[in-house]
């Protein structure tokens, strides 16, 4: 067994425990940064490892499907890397003052990373639930960081919604276990294809229930109303890592519904695609409309995150190999660019005095040149204009959809959604950088100054994604191919699981 596979979970967990010791803020910061940097390096190593074939890690040396297995394949390696890099940027941003505003920011942040990585690496449905809960409890606490009235109210909605979601998750798990007797995803992928006819309705109900749960996390229409309020109320570094959090739902749909209820699932093949496609298309449309109506830049970013989840799921709902490839590519790009925009929104809000990040005419910012360039790059990236990777991602989605019967709708809604996003971003940019009053910027308290290096780092990563689009797409196509033959992939994983223990 290759023990690197569990490092992305174990390392943040150990760091979280260490940073809980009374060390003082400086030592906490040093530990957290060092650990997250190490996590980024490990994740790059895992990307290389997964490129040579899927790795199975049997926890406690219990042979799969009986024990809990972690599975490292190209998709999970990519998501772990994404988490590490976004986490690194959010942490860098937090060091400019956010982590002093409440207690225990660093342990909670590391628990958050551990939960995210666990959810991406696990190969077991119940274990996915456990890591969901670990990630959620950390996010409940992080949302309250630097508390305020808006955060309390948003927190209650967020917690209740997710607790109800967890309940539905467990109902789905119970139904699937009752019908198939396994919760290992690879084993499920094989057993679902030969399900007894009288068990089929129960498993179908479970598949749909799980889709509701994941759609709630991914903020799919009509389950997205919590997202703009929650993300708008959260502290900026927390909002940036929450962008990854909402994509866990997207990932879970790709993983569970792509692998278990994919084309090989016999009577249950594409069990949810018929529901997923309209919901995802509507999400793209409403994400665009919401972005246009947003009154603050952070709210706008929240709607951009919703729209991007929608487009990724449109692509996944196509149910084809090309669709999966495009979904993964656009997923990676959209997370990075929206997270960067959240960090930049915080810097803009800090330098506009009382107006904050409200999209209105206000005083000029004293560093508007730097902010303007960053905003321009990130707006191009998120709206999906050439030459950045957002354009390539959207083009890949549309090319993948060419043969789909709903192609007309997909083309219309994806392009209109992009246009609405572009208009919203252009409107915000004009108000922030051009249409400002010609009086000197108000005196900004020094403690409020933000460092934009984290946002600039993520913007550079977006540009790098565009430059390296070919290799990344080639890498993503490996896991897309696995989804196309889920039965063979499940069998391969179980065989590997038995081999590693020998």
């Amino acid at each position: 067994m290759n023990h690197w596979v569990i490092a992305p979970v174990a390392l943040p967990f150990a760091t979280a425990l260490l940073t809980m010791l009374p060390l003082g803020l400086r030592a906490q910061r040093a530990l957290a940064i060092a650990s997250t940097l190490l996590l980024a390096l490990i994740s790059l190593r895992l990307v290389g490892l997964a490129g040579q074939g899927a790795e199975v890690y049997a926890l406690g040396a219990w042979p799969p499907p009986f024990g809990i297995a972690l599975v490292l394949d190209p998709l999970s390696a990519m998501m772990v890397t994404l988490t590490a890099f976004c986490g690194l940027a959010a942490l860098m941003h937090a060091l400019s003052g956010w982590d002093e505003r409440g207690r225990d920011f660093h342990p909670l942040f590391q628990f958050q990373l551990a939960g995210l990585n666990g959810a991406f690496l696990t190969g077991d449905l119940f274990n996915l639930f456990v890591f969901f809960e670990l990630m959620l409890i950390a996010s409940y606490c992080l949302l309250q960081h630097g508390a305020g009235g808006a955060r309390r109210a948003a927190g209650i909605h967020y917690v209740v919604l997710n607790l109800v979601g967890s309940t539905l998750f467990l109902v789905g798990v119970a139904l699937i276990y009752g019908a198939t007797g396994t919760l290992n995803l690879a084993d499920l992928a094989m057993k679902v294809s030969s399900i007894a006819p009288h068990q089929e309705p129960a498993v179908r109900a479970a598949a749909l229930l799980l889709m509701v749960v994941f759609a709630l996390k991914a903020a799919l229409l009509p389950l997205y109303f919590w997202l703009p309020a929650t993300y708008g109320a959260a502290a900026a570094p927390v909002a940036a890592i929450f962008v990854v959090l909402s994509k866990v739902g997207v990932y879970a749909i790709l993983r569970v519904h792509g692998l278990v209820f994919g084309p090989d699932a016999g009577p249950l093949a594409h069990a949810v695609d018929a529901w997923l496609m309209p919901a995802a298309l509507a999400t793209v449309a409403f994400g665009g409309i919401g972005a246009l109506g947003a009154s603050t830049l952070r709210e706008l970013c929240g709607y951009l995150a919703i729209g991007s989840s929608g487009l990724v799921l449109v692509s996944a709902a196509l149910g084809t190999e090309a669709g999966f490839l495009a979904a993964q590519f656009y997923l990676v790009h959209s997370v990075i660019s929206v997270a960067a925009l959240f960090l930049l929104a915080d810097a803009i809000a800090a330098s506009r005095g009382a107006d904050g990040d409200r999209i209105c005419r206000s005083t000029a910012m004293d560093n508007s040149m730097l902010y303007g360039i960053l905003f321009f790059v990130l707006a191009i990236a998120t709206a999906g204009l050439p030459p950045l990777a957002g354009f390539m991602g959207k083009a890949m989605v549309l090319v993948a959809a060419l043969r789909d019967p709903a192609f007309g709708w997909i083309l219309f809604i994806a392009l209109t959604g992009s246009l609405l996003n572009l208009l919203a971003l252009a409107r915000a940019g004009i108000q922030f950088f051009w249409h400002c009053a010609h009086e000197p910027a108000p005196e900004i308290r020094e403690s409020w100054r933000r460092n934009v290096s984290a946002a600039a780092f993520l913007a550079a990563v977006t540009v790098a994604l565009a430059a390296a689009a070919g290799p990344i797409a080639a890498y993503a196509s490996k896991s897309a191919a696995q989804h196309a033959s889920a039965y063979a992939y499940g069998a391969e994983l179980l065989k590997k699981g038995a081999e590693v223990l020998r």
Partner: protein, 109 residues
């Protein structure tokens, strides 16, 4: 027996859903508790209803599936912790916002 357990689960869920939809945080917390009881029972019987059989191989001829018991233990612990957190949050919100309405402000009547 199956019918009895199934109806108990159904009643727990119905009560839970009703209470979660209330506007005050305390009924919502009770509702979440009912929902988690319901789902725990459901997980517990997911492996099939068997009686008087230990979940250990070799002690007797027949044994019951040990996995749902492990799952339900985990689910109980997580559910309990989450509801405790929700109660703490609700008390904090009452202190900060001066109301126990779930929206953080009194709705118009």
């Amino acid at each position: 027996m199956e019918a009895l357990v199934a109806s108990v689960i159904g009643i727990l869920f119905a009560a839970g859903v009703y209470l979660v939809l209330r506007a005050r945080t305390f009924p919502v917390a009770l509702g979440l508790t009912f929902l988690s009881y319901g789902v725990n029972l459901m997980l517990f019987v997911a492996g099939g209803m068997v009686f008087d059989r230990p979940p250990i191989i070799g002690t007797r001829e027949a044994y019951s599936d040990p996995l749902p018991q492990a799952l339900v233990l985990t689910a109980i612990v997580i559910g309990f912790g989450m509801i405790a957190f929700f109660l703490a949050l609700a008390v904090g919100a009452k202190g900060d916002l001066g109301t126990d309405h779930v929206d953080g402000r009194e709705g118009s009547r």
